[in-house]
């Protein structure tokens, strides 16, 4: 006997993601999911963002890593609430892991929650966490062909941050071709070139975040 199913395989994840989203909304928290390949600068970006937002908004961080708590320790020094998730081998965060971590985040004392996903350009694109915005950090040494290699990630992103632009003089990275390829398949995307080392462009990213937060609150 054949049974018609036609159900999304990740439907269960989606349901938990929606509950997470409700939790963010009821606490007036803007949640962003930061995704990139390993070493593109997710943690550096979080540290820069926290520094620039000090006194302007209350930031919380969820750190996803396969193992270790090195990143959480670095972020904890900045005096913001941080919860580490060790996925124990899984190459991405999912809605359930996020939901468990949220139990340890003081959401009432947080306006902006930065969720650092596991460094990987494939798997995190599939698993919604309940976030409001997906942020992709792509760094210049990775090459300008990345949109073609990981189309789903670039298609899903609300923002692409081109990090390590201070290295552009030493690389064959065509920023225009890179941006054109992404915009071709993702009309809504906003692209900000940044450097977490020199601080260039970070102000624009931070003001984008503040705009999103004020939009949500109004």
């Amino acid at each position: 006997m054949e049974i018609k199913v036609v159900k999304d395989i990740l439907g269960a994840n989606e349901q938990i993601a929606q509950k997470n989203r409700q939790l963010f909304d009821s606490n007036h928290v803007l949640a962003v999911n930061l995704m990139s390949s390993p070493g593109a600068g997710k943690t550096s970006l979080i540290l820069e963002t926290i520094k620039r937002l000090k006194g302007k908004t209350r930031v919380g961080v969820v750190e996803g890593d396969i193992s270790s708590s090195l990143d959480a320790e670095a972020i904890g020094k900045e005096g913001v609430p941080v919860v580490q998730i060790n996925t124990g081998g899984e190459c991405h965060l999912d809605a359930n892991m996020t939901s468990t971590a949220l139990g340890s985040v003081p959401l009432k004392d947080v306006d902006l929650l930065l969720i650092e996903n596991v460094g990987n350009l494939v798997c995190p694109a599939e698993f919604a966490l309940g976030e409001h915005k997906k942020i992709l950090i792509s760094s210049t040494p990775e090459g300008d062909d990345k949109p073609f290699k990981y189309p789903l990630m670039f298609h899903e992103a609300d923002v692409v941050l081109i990090n390590k632009i201070d290295l552009l003089p030493y690389l064959k990275f065509n920023t225009d071709a890179f941006s054109r390829a992404i915009k071709g398949i993702n009309q809504k995307v906003e692209i900000f070139p940044i450097s977490c080392t020199t601080g260039e462009g970070i102000e624009k990213w931070v003001s984008w975040l503040l705009t999103q937060m004020s939009r949500r609150q109004s």
């Binding site: 006997m1 054949e2 049974i3 199913v5 990740l10 994840n13 991405h92 999912d94 599939e126 009309q187």
Partner: protein, 113 residues
């Protein structure tokens, strides 16, 4: 790499449906996978082998229908398959397109006894 989690979710969904139908065993699972998802059928097959052990879906055959990543040109409205390293419309050379297929990831049907 995400196939382990995806296979587990797929198996949960299949077992839930089989139980609802009061089936004794699942003989075949028909899956639809979009080209953009990067899900590798061989990996799903491999994980399914051990995840399904001892369940009513143990030994079930997996069938994969792969949907190519398809775009619609926003300038000339024509549909075309997205090539790996060339994101231009083959009809009018525009770079402005909308992805209309390739993100599918679902269980279409199961065959049970």
């Amino acid at each position: 790499m995400h196939e382990l989690a995806i296979t587990q979710s797929m198996l949960d969904l299949v077992l839930e449906q089989a139980e609802k139908a009061e089936a004794k065993s699942v003989g075949k699972i028909n899956l639809v996978i979009g080209g953009m998802t990067g899900v590798v059928g061989d990996c799903v097959q491999f994980y399914f082998g051990f995840l399904s052990k001892g369940t009513s879906a143990e030994g079930a055959a997996l069938s994969f229908k792969v949907i190519p990543t398809t775009a619609k040109c926003r300038d000339c409205d024509k549909h075309f398959e997205l090539k790996e390293f060339d994101w231009t419309c083959p009809y009018c050379q525009s770079n402005n397109m909308e992805i209309v297929a390739g993100k599918e990831l679902f269980v279409e049907s199961i065959e049970v006894e």
